[in-house]
């Protein structure tokens, strides 16, 4: 920031106030765990910031009979606490519980995890993909609902004029699992992430994070597993199909090269299916 320039910091108490600040160019500040590292990456902190933590509606989780609504400012730690034991969300809980470390999880938010544009290893992205989550945005024109895949693909453009407010999940899963491969037990980003879920129609959903720049569904594997029902939930068979239908282009990064990220997917699928079979919904 140029000398003599005073930073603008708005702690919005309403969404309208946040949008007004956003219209004037303020960057959205959630937990701060991504943005505060910008100076370490050679970047600068924004000159104008709008914080969302004082907007009560964004810090709530509603659990209803057929759906769940998660406020964008809910932290990973709170998400774990409130969804622990809720059938079908084992994978989402594991994603929030395994991300980073306890101190970060107390601060980092759901919205922040999905809106960190250059963060390929966000744990919640593949977990929400298999939930087929809907992202609620507040745009300058009004509220907007978008499927998680479309949101992740278009978020660079979308977030220039919108704030993520809530995530909507249907309760149509009977089981889910989340498998991540960090190089150490903790303290680094996972090389690859595989999220899996089985819905009430016994269809398997699979998503992959950290391998490509943006998390996505593994539709080729989902289709292959759907084609042979007997093999669908056999860990070894699923791993073979994963090898056969691996259509990922691994990204090179500090933690691992692209070929390695791609290579580990098959064993992660095997572990994921094994984890699914241990959940209450499928055991």
């Amino acid at each position: 920031m140029a000398p003599g320039v005073e930073r603008s910091f708005t702690a919005a108490s309403t969404l309208e106030e946040a949008l007004a600040a956003r219209r004037q160019g303020a960057a959205v500040l959630a937990g701060g765990t991504w943005m505060m590292r910008d100076p370490r990456r050679g970047g600068q902190l924004p000159v104008a910031v709008v914080a969302l933590h004082r907007i009560p509606a964004l810090s709530k989780v509603e659990i209803n009979a057929d759906h769940v609504v998660i406020g964008a400012a809910v932290t990973h730690a709170v998400l774990v606490r409130v969804l622990h034991g809720v059938a079908g969300f084992e994978g989402l809980v594991a994603a929030a519980q395994g991300a980073a470390n306890p101190g970060i999880r107390s601060v980092a938010t759901v919205g922040g995890n999905l809106c960190a544009l250059d963060f390929a290893a966000a744990d919640l992205a593949p977990a929400f993909l298999v939930c087929e989550a809907t992202v609620e945005l507040q745009t300058f024109e009004g509220p907007k609902l978008l499927g998680i895949s479309d949101f992740l693909e278009g978020r660079h453009r979308l977030l220039t004029e919108a704030i993520v407010t809530r995530i909507h999940l249907r309760r149509d899963l009977i089981a889910s699992a989340h498998i991540r491969l960090p190089l150490r037990k903790a303290g680094d980003y996972p090389v690859a992430i595989v999220s899996l879920a089985v819905d009430k129609d016994k269809r398997c959903r699979i998503a992959v994070g950290s391998v490509e720049p943006v998390a996505r569904r593994w539709t080729a594997l989902e289709q292959a597993m759907a084609a042979g029902p007997a093999s669908a939930l056999d860990p070894e068979r699923a791993a073979e199909l994963a090898l056969e239908h691996n259509d990922f282009q691994g990204r090179d990064g500090k933690e691992a090269e692209g070929w390695y990220r791609r290579q580990v997917l098959s064993p992660l699928v095997r572990r994921g299916v094994a984890a699914l079979l241990k959940t209450e919904g499928l055991a």
């Binding site: 910091f9 702690a11 500040l29 701060g32 765990t33 505060m36 370490r40 910031v49 601060v107």
Partner: protein
């Protein structure tokens, strides 16, 4: 911008850039140098403090977000004239402290953990420490001391949170 918050039980007022990391204010303005600024990326845990009783890295906390909050640093856990926090006492008794660089953060992370998890297993203690790096690699003795602290509290029929913090 002016930010006011409670720091170790006393009113604290900061005037300046609201995006200043809390750790810099603690160390440079309040001279509370027990909180260490090491990685500044939330990986090492040396800067851990409590904000409204939650353990979190102060390097990634812009001071603007602590407006109206209660911040506790390692200096606020026990003044030195009082009895140590039971976890600090257990670390001392077990001779778990080595160079001391990671220790304030280790105590702040684990004091919140033992308060919330009085029946934690050894595996759970280890999982709670993943965000605190000890370059002396003295992890096992730290885990031993935490286990002893919890065990003593259970035998005394007292939760750790009932003793201090």
């Amino acid at each position: 911008m002016t930010v006011t918050f409670q720091l170790n039980g006393e009113d604290c007022r900061f005037h300046g850039d609201p995006m200043t990391p809390l750790v810099d204010i603690l160390r440079q303005e309040r001279f509370l140098t027990g909180t260490k600024a090491v990685c500044r990326e939330g990986f090492c845990g040396a800067c851990t403090v409590h904000v409204d009783d939650e353990a979190m890295p102060s390097c990634l906390k812009p001071v603007g977000l602590v407006q109206g909050c209660a911040v506790t640093t390692i200096e606020g856990l026990s003044s030195g004239n009082q009895a140590l926090h039971p976890l600090q006492a257990a670390f001392e008794a077990d001779d778990a402290v080595q160079c001391g660089m990671c220790f304030p953060g280790m105590v702040m992370s684990l004091s919140a953990f033992v308060r919330d998890n009085p029946h934690a297993s050894r595996a759970e203690i280890k999982a709670a420490m993943v965000g605190n790096i000890c370059r002396c690699t003295g992890y096992e003795r730290i885990v031993d001391a935490v286990a002893v602290c919890l065990d003593q509290a259970r035998k005394a029929g007292q939760l750790v949170e009932g003793i201090n913090v």
